[in-house]
Symmetry: C2
Subunit: 403 residues, 2 copies
Amino acid sequence: MKKTNVSRGFRVPGFTTAGISCGIKADKQKDLALIFSEGPAIAAGVFTTNKVVSPTVTWCRNKLKSSKTFRAIVVNSGNANACTGPRGMEDCKSVAARLSQELEITPKEILIASTGIIGVPLPSGKIVKAIPTLSKELSATGWTHSAEAIMTTDLVAKSKSLSYKMGKHKITLGGISKGSGMIHPNMATMLAFIATDAAIDTKTLHRALKEANEKTFNRITVDGDSSTNDMALIFASGKAGNKTIPAGSPAYRTFVGKLTDLCLDLAHKIVLDGEGATKFVTIRVQGAKLKTHAHRIAQSVATSSLVKTALFGQDPNWGRIIAAVGYAGVPVNPDKVEILLNGSLLFKNGVPASGASQPALRKKMKSKNIVIAIELNSGRYSDKVYTCDLSYDYVRINAEYTT
Amino acid sequence: MKKTNVSRGFRVPGFTTAGISCGIKADKQKDLALIFSEGPAIAAGVFTTNKVVSPTVTWCRNKLKSSKTFRAIVVNSGNANACTGPRGMEDCKSVAARLSQELEITPKEILIASTGIIGVPLPSGKIVKAIPTLSKELSATGWTHSAEAIMTTDLVAKSKSLSYKMGKHKITLGGISKGSGMIHPNMATMLAFIATDAAIDTKTLHRALKEANEKTFNRITVDGDSSTNDMALIFASGKAGNKTIPAGSPAYRTFVGKLTDLCLDLAHKIVLDGEGATKFVTIRVQGAKLKTHAHRIAQSVATSSLVKTALFGQDPNWGRIIAAVGYAGVPVNPDKVEILLNGSLLFKNGVPASGASQPALRKKMKSKNIVIAIELNSGRYSDKVYTCDLSYDYVRINAEYTT
């Protein structure tokens, strides 16, 4: 039995889900997931910015443009169906055709995702053969299974749900995610699938997902690499019975807030499960003149191999942090910068703070949660990026798996 | 006795040099170097783009602007004199004052560099006290000693010289470099100091250094981090007696070519000595529509932790390479891309090449020299970046050294 990091037994009205083994992965590990909407749902997605993409990304982008409603998301792990040539899209079509037949829906109502090895043709025959079983396994509380079926080198399955009141209506959001770095032989892929019973229109749902994504999945980094298959999809069934959430309204702000909470939880679980990670690290940049400055500096610190190895070594290394601030490519006055680590001042007025090497500070470094706060004292903008440390195990996992 | 990677016993007419121990480093390791020009020389420099800089960088930038001729470069290792507040510049002044007295030159004719620990005041008293000995040790063949005295975690001392004929005049270039990643507690610094007897004017010398730097020191990456102290300086004594090299002339092109050869050798020695490196890796991108595209793609592949750990694991992982090409942030048509590793085709027409996982290829991966060639088939521009692999030892060196 795998470890799980799931909200057990949750339901999202209007949706059923399943996760089974279809034989792509060895040892009967779960490798095929289905999320099914009992009625027509609307959907939105955000995708990798990589120029090299899986046909599943192309499939979803096209369907989200051309179809109005959706009924199913089918996801396999163990094979990313990327760099597979024209055959890749044919395999998507085979899977969608069989699934549409089984579920009595149309292929254009189906979204597809894959994660795992790249450059190897998708064994779509195995998926096609397993579809009847997959369909039979659908259940309102099946999220534990679908969360497990989308794992690759993830050590724990990841899911989360939450509800809130909108007037007299209860709105529920639930989702699953996977991804723990990019792995053998190529990339692990960040995937997230979210379902909600909120009534909302497609354009507004897309805007909400983009907003939430910007603060969550777009603010995590394990190793700075980004995959050919990354995507986050959201389905909305409207079953909550609320009045359609209008864009820009207070109800919209609340919905985005809740969606952001959900995505942040799923994103944090990905970082916590980062390859070889021993620490969860928040880089918070404040007092920037522009939002982009705050983001670039946070990203620069979060992706510095030197900062990340220092954190693994439990070394409060302000020097590597201020250096990464300095090379972020945005204007910085080092004399104004303050650096705090879990609340302890490390650097101020261009020099290390007096307590910067105290034994007490070294003790703080043993914490699993590290917050590096960087105050620029140059404006009112801030940003946050989440990452993990860089350990021997990261190198082991990524060097020792060979083709 | 340390290992050396030096051209032994070379001379550059007009220059003497020395390297001694002044007590900043433990165990009487050499930590103070001097390069002296017997007469007034012209000089040029290129510096880190980090916004956080050592006062030595500020000192050199200012002097190169305000002084016409130079006589000395003094360099200490073991302390970077960075993040030391206003005291940092005072320490530069103390060192320059004592050195000017000893050598009977003026402080404005002196350039200063430091490398080592940051955030700790420079023990300038030790340097000042050692200056008479340093000056006595000056010799035309002292490059072995000065190369050793600028090392930090470098495993080998690095130097190189070469000569060529310009008409009946022999022109000599010689230099030393250091830097093997960024290290405890903060940064190692890339430093290079070059001397030539060529007759050339300051503006042209600066242009030549910038051109050579762009193809050499600016094209190497160990871990993507850049320091507060990086610099390359060149002195020209004019002792070769050649007619002053005019900018843009064939003689200038030859000089730049030779200077580039010298800098490339010194830059390669830095990568070869990269922290934990087991391989020297050349990323060559060809067929780009723009020069910047070729550079960004090469840089993206060269800094990918996944590519670098795969190389350490001797895995011909074309998937991580094509993914890094895809997220370089420039337009790419993956179907046109070809990837070759030490001459073997790995990837073409959007799919792995048939030989991509042959045992023969795995054997090639055992080579210490890896060339990854990426043909974009989209234009006529190319670029090269040099890097090393990412090993357990990189993590060990950077995690286990603690304050």
